[in-house]
């Protein structure tokens, strides 16, 4: 989030381009982080309002750096919010609304990517990697059980002792040493 860390794209441009770019940035609303409220939308029940809020929080503002529809002030976000609101009022279900948006804008609009063949990589990829890592760890632990004991070599011992004063902590006596 900290925009401090965003690169300033205006460096090294002529003044004219700079002001154009600045204007474009403002239009795109990429610097806009002020609160937006739902007040303009009327709902039949608090549940419906909550549902609406949760829905637009899961949708991406397509022209912003990384903001949800709920958080963005950009014009396009405003339009999309109105669109979602209109569909909701027309009695469409969440799934219908999502399907419509995905058809129009692609999966990019969803912060919660759906599980389907093209996203298997995303949903299962990390677990495959973690599984491999887990396998290595288990193998290591099992191997260590059978390994011969060679805790610290004599030269290491010497070097360590050179570092130690009259410290009394001892590693083999349990949890007291961390």
């Amino acid at each position: 989030m900290p925009p401090l860390l965003k690169k300033d794209p205006l460096i090294k441009m002529s003044p004219v381009i700079k002001s154009l770019a600045l204007g474009a940035l403002l239009l795109l609303g990429s610097g806009s982080l002020s609160a937006y409220t739902l007040e303009e939308f009327q709902f039949d029940s608090p549940e419906q309002q909550t549902e609406f809020r949760e829905l637009i929080a899961k949708l991406r503002c397509l022209v912003c750096q990384n903001e949800s529809l709920a958080g963005s002030q950009a014009e396009l976000a405003q339009d999309l919010r109105n669109e979602v609101y209109r569909m909701m009022r027309a009695g469409q279900s969440q799934d219908e609304i999502l399907d419509f948006l995905v058809e129009r804008y692609g999966d990019f609009v969803l912060y919660d990517p759906p599980l389907k063949p093209s996203t298997y990589l995303l949903w299962f990829g990390p677990f495959v990697l973690i599984g491999i890592a887990g396998f290595v760890v288990v193998r290591t632990i099992l191997a260590k059980k059978r390994a011969t004991d060679e805790p610290i070599s004599a030269s290491e011992q010497e070097r360590l002792q050179a570092l130690l004063d009259n410290s009394t902590d001892s590693p083999s006596s349990g949890p007291r040493s961390t």
């Binding site: 460096i11 999966d107 919660d112 760890v137 130690l164």
Partner: protein, 662 residues
């Protein structure tokens, strides 16, 4: 004139860094003592010159010297002085200079506090740090010079991004960078050990305090960023899984694995090559994070093209640092012995599992952050990966980490018995099952299973650590209080540091659980005089008025908050328009409390004195940052442990009286 001096100082720093990278290392390999002794003076010199450059830039900001391009872009005569200083790191060039300042500062610190290290080790460590510094100085001088002049000189600067005009964000980057750069010390120690071929327990003991200090800074830096986002952005969230946030989280996760793995290397001389790999990864991820964020690649792969010069430099630099160190690792690591045997149930196994989980978290974050880029690059379609994905993935693993965290510190090194462990911890387990039952029946849980689980896991951590402390004190002769004091002033600090940090985790879990499941958020339209009741608090809106700040104009709302009949807070949320231009900014007004925050943020004026606004009730949200603060505090306590301070005592006291077996 002064900016040119700064520029010149940077060039000198580069020259000194080059000498620092080459001479001591060459000396250590050829046994040339005078060359090795050059390491310290060169590191000090480098620090002095970077400091001169930094002061020169601060000066340019303070006197509003808009003939300096960077100052003209990020400052303004109306900007309060404190933000003129923080504006120094408000943009790309200046934050690189801050990076360099800290990098050379850590180098100077290593020079100053390494009297007990063998000279060749110091020489190699400082050489490696010199090499990294060269990369940064070159990057700055070739592509991102903060002292570049601007002609004609504009009469007024463009102003600092209003979001950055805030105390929290003024200190957030320095803390974060201290952490990032601090890992360069761990990295340098690891590389030095690989070069020297002496990868042993002594190496772990030397680099451990440095790593912990870096980790403490990074923890504070991330927590500050989260806290800032919470109160400044006006959306009430504390973490958004934004690529920029993820970039700072990855080094932290690996760094956390590293400080645990270093414990094994120090105590048992095991996991040596693994620890080295973690040290390399922690710093590589710091670099990757800084540069990914800086280059804009994370927003889109195409952003790379907007500034090919910088992008290319970054790519080459990353390849050299990461590729070079991994190559060195591949060459040297096979020669490293892997320490002693341990049983299935042992502290070593527990810490290995800890490492597995932290690496798994890192993989998740890295994967989630890069997945949109991977999909885009391989033409698999454009996707977004946001908080729902990250939350699901993290929740799938986090409970295991919390369970393990209650057991790990109770296990014995090398070998432990299940029966002994059960005897020590059954009470904690039983109590937390009790907590689980109670919370799932009470109203606290709502209808969500995660609330009782979260609270019970936090309780498990609390109880098990209390039992672990009791177990430690049980064997002492004195009463528990004297025993604790004696222990603390003796060499128990690293133990108590660990306990404090782990309790911080418990606190963090409670905060996250409660605020995620029980926060209330209301969008309203209010007229002056209106009241609204939420979560037992009544918010009275008295109206809004115009106020003027030093460099902004604002609409300021006035709210009274009542609990029952008693007024508990008076809140003034603002909507600011900065004179330097840009979108209006929301300044939320927060009544902070230990158990809850109430939070008002002003939206739009909707006519007739009415305002659209947002109210939040955030239970236990402070526990998130207090938990992080406890973790950092724990790290600080651990570093103050006696065995890390022995160096100084050693140099004055005669040798002998060595009690430790490790």
């Amino acid at each position: 004139m002064i900016p040119e001096l700064g520029h010149l100082a940077l060039i000198f720093a580069l020259i000194l860094a080059t000498a620092q990278a080459a001479m001591p290392l060459a000396g250590s390999l050829t046994g040339n003592r005078p060359w090795m002794t050059m390491a310290r003076p060169l590191a000090y010199g480098q620090f002095v010159f970077v400091a001169i450059a930094f002061v020169a830039l601060v000066e340019a900001f303070l006197i509003s010297d808009f003939s300096v391009l960077y100052v003209a872009q990020h400052s303004n005569t109306l900007l309060p002085d404190i933000y003129k200083v923080s504006a120094v790191w408000g943009g790309h060039e200046g934050s690189l200079l801050l990076w360099a300042l800290m990098m050379s500062g850590w180098g100077a610190a290593v020079s100053a506090f390494s009297r007990n290290l063998p000279l060749p080790v110091v020489a190699r460590v400082l050489s490696v740090m010199g090499m990294v510094a060269i990369g940064f100085f070159l990057f700055m001088l070739l592509t991102s010079n903060p002292f570049e002049r601007l002609f004609p000189v504009p009469p007024e600067g463009r102003d600092l991004n209003p979001l950055l005009q805030d105390f929290g964000l003024a200190i957030h980057p320095p803390m974060l960078y201290m952490g990032y750069v601090g890992f360069s010390v761990a990295f340098a120690f690891a590389i030095a050990a690989l070069i020297g071929g002496k990868l042993d327990a002594a190496w772990a003991r030397w680099s451990r305090p440095w790593t912990t200090v870096a980790w403490v800074f990074l923890t504070i830096g991330i927590a500050l960023g989260s806290w800032w986002a919470y109160y400044e952005l006006g959306w009430g969230g504390w973490w958004f899984w934004d690529p920029v946030e993820n970039a700072s989280l990855m080094p932290w996760l690996v760094g956390t694995a590293l400080i645990h793995s270093l414990a094994v290397t120090e105590k048992r001389a095991a996991f040596k090559s693994w620890t080295v790999l973690l040290a390399i990864s922690a710093f590589s991820l710091s670099l990757l994070g800084t540069f990914l964020v800086r280059s804009g690649v994370l927003t889109s792969v195409h952003a790379f093209a907007t500034d090919p010069e910088r992008g290319l430099f970054i790519l080459i630099f990353l390849c050299i640092v990461i590729g070079g160190s991994l190559a060195l690792y591949a060459w040297r690591a096979p020669e490293v012995s892997e320490g002693g045997r341990f049983d299935l149930l042992s502290r070593e196994s527990a810490l290995l599992l800890n490492n597995l989980l932290f690496v798994a978290f890192t993989v998740l974050v890295l994967f989630g952050t890069l997945a949109p880029l991977i999909y885009e690059a391989f033409d698999l379609g454009k996707i977004s990966v946001g908080f729902p994905w990250f939350n699901k993935m993290f929740l799938a693993l986090a409970p295991f980490l919390a369970l393990l965290l209650g057991i790990g510190p109770a296990t014995r090194w090398k070998s432990d018995q299940p029966s002994r462990l059960t005897k020590q911890l059954w009470l904690a387990f039983a109590l937390s099952i009790g907590v689980l039952t109670l919370t799932s029946m009470s109203a606290v849980s709502g209808d969500d299973l995660w609330v009782p689980i979260g609270i019970a896991l936090a309780a498990w951590l609390l109880f098990s650590h209390l039992l672990i402390v009791r177990d430690r004190l049980k064997h002492k002769q004195q009463g528990w209080r004297q025993a604790m004091v004696a222990d603390f002033s003796g060499n128990g600090r690293s133990f108590y540091g660990m306990v404090v940090a782990h309790l911080g985790v418990a606190m963090f879990i409670v905060g996250v659980t409660m605020v995620s499941n029980h926060q209330i958020e209301k969008d309203l339209r209010m007229s002056p005089g209106d009241s609204h009741e939420m979560a037992g608090y009544r918010f009275e809106f008295l109206g809004a008025q115009k106020v003027n700040g030093p460099n902004y104009r604002a609409d300021q709302g006035h709210f009274l908050v009542y609990r029952g009949e008693r007024q508990i807070a008076e809140l003034f949320p603002e909507k600011r328009s900065y004179l330097g231009g840009g979108m209006p900014m929301t300044e939320a007004a927060i009544d902070a409390g230990f158990f809850r925050d109430v939070y008002v943020s002003l939206g739009e004026a909707v006519g007739g004195g009415d305002w659209a606004l947002r109210l939040y009730y955030k239970p236990y949200v402070r526990w998130i940052w207090l938990g992080a603060a406890l973790m950092a505090l724990g790290g600080a306590i651990a570093v103050s442990d006696r065995r890390y301070r022995i160096a100084r005592a050693r140099s004055t006291a005669p040798a002998g009286a060595v009690g430790a077996k490790a």
